[in-house]
Symmetry: C2
Subunit: 295 residues, 2 copies
Amino acid sequence: MRRLKSVAVVGVGLIGGSFALALRKAGAVSRIVGVDRDRQALERAAALGVIDTAADSASEAASRADLVLVAVPVRAIGPVLHDVALGLGPDAVVTDAGSTKADIVATAAQELRAGFARFVPGHPIAGREASGVDAAVPDLFRGARVVLTPEAATAPEATALVRACWEACGARVTEMPAAAHDRIFASVSHLPHLLAFALVSEIVSRPDAAELLGFAAGGFRDFTRIAASSPEMWRDIALANREALLEEIDRYGARVAVFRELVARGDGPGLQRLMTEARNARRAWPGGRRSQADE
Amino acid sequence: MRRLKSVAVVGVGLIGGSFALALRKAGAVSRIVGVDRDRQALERAAALGVIDTAADSASEAASRADLVLVAVPVRAIGPVLHDVALGLGPDAVVTDAGSTKADIVATAAQELRAGFARFVPGHPIAGREASGVDAAVPDLFRGARVVLTPEAATAPEATALVRACWEACGARVTEMPAAAHDRIFASVSHLPHLLAFALVSEIVSRPDAAELLGFAAGGFRDFTRIAASSPEMWRDIALANREALLEEIDRYGARVAVFRELVARGDGPGLQRLMTEARNARRAWPGGRRSQADE
């Protein structure tokens, strides 16, 4: 890829910070401008060498950038894109790192207007237990998957630039429609999060919650680990991807009803058949053995 | 506790083997007799020094034992107790390590008859990823919880002996009624297992399962880890604890319906309230930080 003169990173947390570090390590960029409404995070990013300069606003950062990465919580992407649009140069490309895509595409169309053709919706599938710029590392995206969901209106060269940047970070890039992305992640990410929150929620609603938790062991621990995630983030994802998530909740409910019926009927062979299929699939899944806590 | 002359362990796997090693390490027993329908496992147990002698049958082992631990899969406990009863001396105490209790109490009453007063139903809450006697370690139960569910008919001195043995293994022993045990474990163990199996089962039933799993990440991995467990074991537990499990499935379904309704209505504050309660409870739970994979 051509070396970029300037990349703006709006939101210098784990994702934005790691993107900056990875691009710099790959020699893909000369100058990184950071923006964050959290002034301390921004100063920390500069002190750590994650960014070269701090800008006061997304529009200011965008005005000097070849590429703008918006790596803020889903709910903040709209206002940020609004601000980015105010400063965006005619050739600059914009991308994001949000966990949902169709809603962000709609927001981007509204906020970026003419600039929408140079907006490439993106979702890096990576994370760590820790968050914030102090947790940022240049290798966060090495081997990780990144989904891009360009629209018909998206300029191919914009998509190519964003793809090249993520590949420079070591990521494997896949393109698909926003709706397909949202269905996939409703299934393998948003639904499990909601289910884990619901299980802990059900237990803490009981008078004997402390006793129940006192006997909970390793299976419960792993099943509910994601219920320790940010309520704000998952609230926003659930609402942003509402239609796909509702469909997944209903599909899942139907499958649980099948299991319930097998238990109620005492159908051992039927239970064993479904459990064995699931066990085999889970054991064959290569992701089952990774030790990294990525989301 | 008084030093026991002879302990019989029926089922020399992870649990039975670790119990034997722990009792021996504590100096609590002179001689350990092992029984296993898997001849290789039995020879391995002898070779590893986990047991002193191998017996050909549970009745033979029981005939010379002060204490018999039945550590076999739930479905095999009935036949084993039947066999134990044939050889059991008048003062010998019997206990088990099954994950469900009310059904085992009913089976034990039927199989042990007069010996039922010396049967102490038990459930050690411990495990490792690995299974079998090669995975047995003397410290498996150190700090682990063990639930005993003596009946009104259970001789107090029998319960005291089994408690003393588990305490000698380093475990924390709690007594409660079998029905209370089964409700608790339906909630924090049996339900999560069924839910994890159901999620993977739902995904593998789809034509695009491979694509979905290709994008699944760390949250999915932990949520579904227990779906890699033994289908036979969890089929048996689900059926053995059917009533309590059905009740838990329904309670959980009702809570998921609440979350579903909040998502459908776009009720952000409502979602955030429930997710925050769950997040706080999950973060405050001391078991959340243990690294041992115990079930």
